[in-house]
């Protein structure tokens, strides 16, 4: 089988698995809502990886845009209009625009410094959500909104009580964003991102405007992230200040690295492992954090190229 066929068959397998998930998941001990969470968090991890794995820029504060998306969506549903699609739009715009503005301030920084500044700025939004309790509900999170039925013109889909219908709604959203990401990565712009990742100085010599490209990649990644966050508000009918916290950013980065950050689908695999593990461990012990911590350490020491990178190495050997 040649390379092209192999890639296509893997791609087909991924989509078949995702489309059929509500049918096979119960047999392996899963449930549909868990599948929905994996999709949304996986989309978040893929957005982080859009920047980390394909542009080589280490943002450690991406939970801020995820959380802003969630709050934007929740606030719109609660105070403005009961419409799921408008909620998604509001959340995506809020997180994406804020991310883009901040990105403009940061694009000249690199490496550790960039990571530090993104973490610190990300925390601003955590404190705002935490302190402004009259609007955001503070520590308790934003409650009092629900995802609304979808009006498609010819039919109305109830995604609130029917968890399978909601899974498919999220899957469609996921597919659209993932297609957009793949499209951008295949475009000349995406190739330029890779060039910057591989050798920034050489790319600069070629006349590429590095800061501008990094800023655009950062902003796109923030929009994707905010969209994932908006979906997450719909998943839980709730927005949590912890969703903005830097520990959540760390979780997204570990999902990307765990799956394989040089791979397009790596972060989704990472999210599957991470979310299922967290779900399982937190159901058997209150000290689940220690297991998450050990997972971080193990990934760094033994799987720095992620599960997909590891599998590939094994195959070559």
């Amino acid at each position: 089988m040649n390379e092209m066929n192999r890639k296509l068959s893997i791609l087909a397998a991924i989509w078949v698995a995702l489309v059929c998930a509500p049918f096979w998941m119960p047999y392996v001990g899963g449930y549909t809502a868990l599948g929905t969470r994996v999709l949304v968090l996986g989309l978040g991890a893929m957005s982080v990886n859009f920047l980390l794995g394909f542009t080589g820029v280490l943002s450690f504060g991406h939970a801020a845009w995820f959380g802003l998306g969630a709050y934007g969506c929740g606030l719109l549903l609660k105070f403005v209009a009961p419409s799921t699609s408008l909620g998604l739009l509001a959340g995506t715009l809020l997180g994406g625009v804020m991310g883009g503005l901040l990105g403009a301030l940061l694009v000249r920084r690199r490496g550790v410094y960039f990571a530090m500044v993104t973490i610190a700025f990300g925390q601003v939004f955590y404190y705002i959500a935490f302190q402004w309790s009259s609007l955001t509900g503070g520590d308790d999170g934003l409650r009092g909104f629900e995802r609304q039925p979808l009006h498609l013109g010819f039919a109305t889909v109830d995604i609130l009580s029917d968890s399978t219908a909601f899974y498919y709604f999220v899957l469609v959203c996921f597919a659209l964003v993932v297609a957009a990401m793949a499209f951008i990565l295949r475009s000349p712009f995406g190739r330029t991102m890779l060039a910057i990742r591989e050798n920034e100085r050489r790319a600069r010599f070629l006349g590429i405007q590095i800061e501008q490209h990094i800023w655009i990649a950062f902003t796109l990644s923030c929009f994707f992230m905010a969209f994932a966050g908006s979906l997450y508000a719909l998943v839980n009918n709730f927005a949590d200040p912890l969703g903005l916290h830097y520990s959540q950013s760390g979780n997204f980065v570990i999902m990307a690295v765990l799956g394989g950050m040089r791979r397009f689908w790596g972060p989704l695999l990472g999210a599957v492992v991470f979310v299922v593990l967290q779900d399982y461990v937190s159901s058997i012990t209150i000290n689940w954090q220690i297991f998450i911590g050990i997972l971080f350490v193990l990934v760094v020491l033994f799987f720095p190229r992620g599960l997909l990178g590891f599998l590939q190495q094994r195959k070559r050997a």
Binding site: L52, L58, F60, L105, R108, R109, R110, G111, V112, Y113, A115, M116, V117, I119, A120, F121, Q123, V124, Y127, I128, Q131, Y246, S247, G250, V253, I254, V257, N287, Q289, I290, I292, G293, I294, L295, F296, V297, V299, V300, L301, P304
Partner: protein
């Protein structure tokens, strides 16, 4: 009003002093090894809890001296076994590793000492206010400021006057050349890490006496310390010192006029500094951009 203002300024300076201690340790490690130690707060908490455990046997003073050393030994072990493996690799890995360690230390503290807060008793003569008019200036607060001053002076003289200190500073500027001159960089980094953790352990004990002990207290100090470093300028210890005091006072002053913004104001300060001086107040061209 003056009373209130003074109270909040002193308070801000006090908190700022904690930020300084924490940030100096972080800064030392970051400058020489390029590692942002997310687990720094975890070590601070462990320092406090070790002192809590030792206090019945050694008393306050014994615990104050012994705990930082024990914390530093734990830190040294962690550095040798885990953190030293990611030196020189993409900063991503050191971030993730110390991030995981922070989880482990916090959950570990909770497993050993329980999730409930613990009191850490301080000698009676320190807990009394020294003046009736300025009731908020307790002996302990003065004592803490004194200790912080001693540690900062000690650290700066160590870095300026001793051979090891000079090597650490040289390594901050150009580690390869220092290694080429025959300095054992491995040992230098370990020692430097241990010094940073020693300071964290000490601040854990001091913080325990003022605020009591809680497994999560370290995480709360981590972000302000980051900001102290960014405001002061990455790569400059003097900058870290100024940055820590500055954000402490800024948040103290804001607490007078608009209490709910007292945490947000330090982020505003950081944004202003980054807009006007992108490398921070004392940051220089070429250092860890």
């Amino acid at each position: 009003m003056t009373q209130l203002l003074l109270f909040n300024i002193t308070n801000g300076l006090m908190i700022g002093a904690f930020y300084v201690l924490m940030a100096l340790g972080l800064s030392l490690i970051l400058n020489l090894s390029g590692v942002i130690n997310f687990a720094h707060g975890g070590f601070l908490v462990i320092g406090g809890y070790i002192a809590y455990t030792l206090e019945p046997y050694l008393g306050f003073w014994g615990a104050l001296v012994a705990s930082p050393f024990l914390t530093a030994i734990i830190g040294l072990a962690v550095e040798r076994v885990l953190i030293s493996r990611v030196y020189g690799r993409d900063p991503l890995y050191s971030l993730l590793l110390t991030f995981g360690l922070a989880y482990i230390l916090e959950a570990g503290t909770r497993m050993i000492w329980g999730a409930q807060g613990k009191p850490f008793t301080i000698p009676e003569f320190l807990s009394k206010p020294i003046s009736n008019e300025f009731f908020f200036i307790t002996g302990y607060r003065l004592f803490m400021v004194l200790i912080v001053a001693v540690v900062v002076t000690g650290l700066f003289s160590f870095l300026r006057l001793t051979r090891i200190g000079i090597r650490i500073r040289a390594g901050t500027l150009d580690l390869e050349t220092v290694a080429g001159l025959g300095v054992n960089v491995r040992a230098l980094r370990s020692l430097n890490f241990a010094v940073g953790i020693f300071i964290a352990g000490l601040s854990g004990v001091l913080a325990g006496g003022q605020l009591g002990l809680e497994p999560t207290m370290g995480a709360g100090l981590l972000m302000p310390s980051f900001i102290a470093i960014i405001v002061g300028g990455v790569g400059s210890l003097a900058g870290t010192l100024v940055g820590g005091l500055l954000i402490g006072v800024a948040s103290g002053l804001t607490a007078v006029f608009y209490p709910s913004a007292s945490e947000a104001v330090i982020y505003v300060l950081m944004a202003v500094v980054l807009l006007t001086r992108p490398r921070g107040l004392f940051g220089e061209e070429g250092m860890l951009t």
